[in-house]
Amino acid sequence: MAVKTLSLDGQLISARDGQTLLEAARESGVSIPTLCHLDGLDPVGACRLCLVEVNGRLMPSCLTRVAEEMEVWTQTERLQRYRKQIVELLFAERNHICSVCVANGNCELQDLAMRLGVDHLRYAPQEPQCEVDLSHERYGLDHNRCVLCTRCVRVCDEIEGAHTWDVAGRGTNCRVITDLHQPWGSASTCTSCGKCVMACPTGALFHRGASVSENVHDRETLHALILAREEKQWLV
């Protein structure tokens, strides 16, 4: 196996050929914030929170492969500033009211805000009119909380194999949709497996009937499924 040697935050590290910078950093104990990334799903580099500086250029670490003699910085003042800015813009883009959200206390956007020191928003909230789809008998979709990470789209396509979810529209009109923009309850391809709900980082997808703070996104179960499928290991 080819090994690449590179510098990570001033320390020389070795990484396997083909690894992403995010994977290499995590193996070295360096934590890089992410939002659209979910282990086991194809990375898309959509949220840009995992940006790192590679030889002075900003690159998404989830998509950038390790290379010989790379000089990578993961926590520079510029990166911290951009990450904070991204989280603030995500909050401002839709209607995130943490205190009345089903994912309050179990939300990766909320966690990121805290981790990055976002104590207020410097941008005026856009306050778009977003719909809530409660047509599915078991799950709900609240576009107010969606950050367009496309985890639901990828988990449904890559793990469940149903491809019920997709993305429609541009800019402020961009929405995740089910089956050519049908109400979720009428989407005939949906198997009601709930993987999209497990994968969602915020309160956009939720179990109906779950009250505030009870809407647990079970990301670990997805990892177990991926492990079983790819490594033939079954966790009991």
Binding site: E23, A25, R26, E27, G29, V30, S31, P33, T34, L35, H37, L38, D39, F91, N95, H96, I97, C98, S99, V100, C101, N104, G105, N106, C107, E108, Q110, D111, L112, A113, M114, R115, G117, D119, H120, L121, A124, P125, E127, P128, Q129, C130, P201, V212, S213, V216, H217, D218, R219, E220, H223
Partner: protein, 202 residues
């Protein structure tokens, strides 16, 4: 040393932040040793005084009275703390913004969904006129410190007050700052204890 002049103000919020203020329990007695509470919904004072050292402002700016008040609070106070999610983001108070201005909300509340249908209060009535948009405090005046949370916890308020009253700088990031309610216990990474391996090193 002169006693410090502390004020708390209640604008467009539910008073939960003030309840959390009372959650500081025995620290309130220590606080009473060093400050005079010169204005608050918890004391009987009608006019916001001059020369306030520290003020905690709860709630968003929702109506003309709030707007007038926040300008007076700012000009008469040395340190202004945005106190709780409504003051910091607009929070629940700002949900009506999505409905498009004050009039549609009033129509809906007093005429369409009210049984029997009522009348929208006129600007001359004793209730202050609603602003078209609810905005957080820092959208109107300069804020010196933000204490998000719905509500911020008693220990968090205590930490902030202790530092501010001592004239020290404060880094609230060390104290698990968060929007929304208390939620789940946090781990050292700052993530909720529920699984979120995508943000944690593997």
């Amino acid at each position: 040393m002169a006693r410090l002049r502390l004020a708390t103000v209640w604008l467009g919020g539910c008073s939960g932040c003030h309840m959390s203020f009372l959650d500081m329990d025995e620290y309130l007695l220590e606080l009473a040793e060093i400050v005079d509470v010169v204005f608050s919904p918890l004391v009987d004072s009608k006019t916001y005084p001059e020369g306030v050292d520290v003020v905690l402002v709860e709630g968003a700016i929702c109506n003309v009275e709030h707007m007038e008040m926040i300008h007076r609070v700012r000009s008469n106070s040395r340190v202004l703390i945005s106190f709780g999610d409504c003051a910091v983001t607009g929070n629940v108070s700002a949900i009506r913004n999505v409905l498009g201005g004050a009039l549609p909300v009033l129509k809906c509340s007093y005429e369409e969904r009210s049984d029997p249908a009522g009348m929208i209060p006129s600007p001359n009535d004793i209730v202050p006129q609603l602003l078209d948009r609810v905005v957080p405090v820092h959208a109107v005046v300069k804020v010196d410190l933000f204490l998000p949370g719905c509500p911020p916890s008693g220990p968090m308020i205590r930490t902030a007050l202790e530092k501010v009253l001592a004239g020290e700088t404060i880094d609230l990031m060390e104290h698990h700052l968060s929007f929304g309610g208390y939620g789940r216990p946090r781990n050292s990474e700052g993530s909720s204890t529920a699984s979120s391996s995508s943000t944690a090193p593997s």
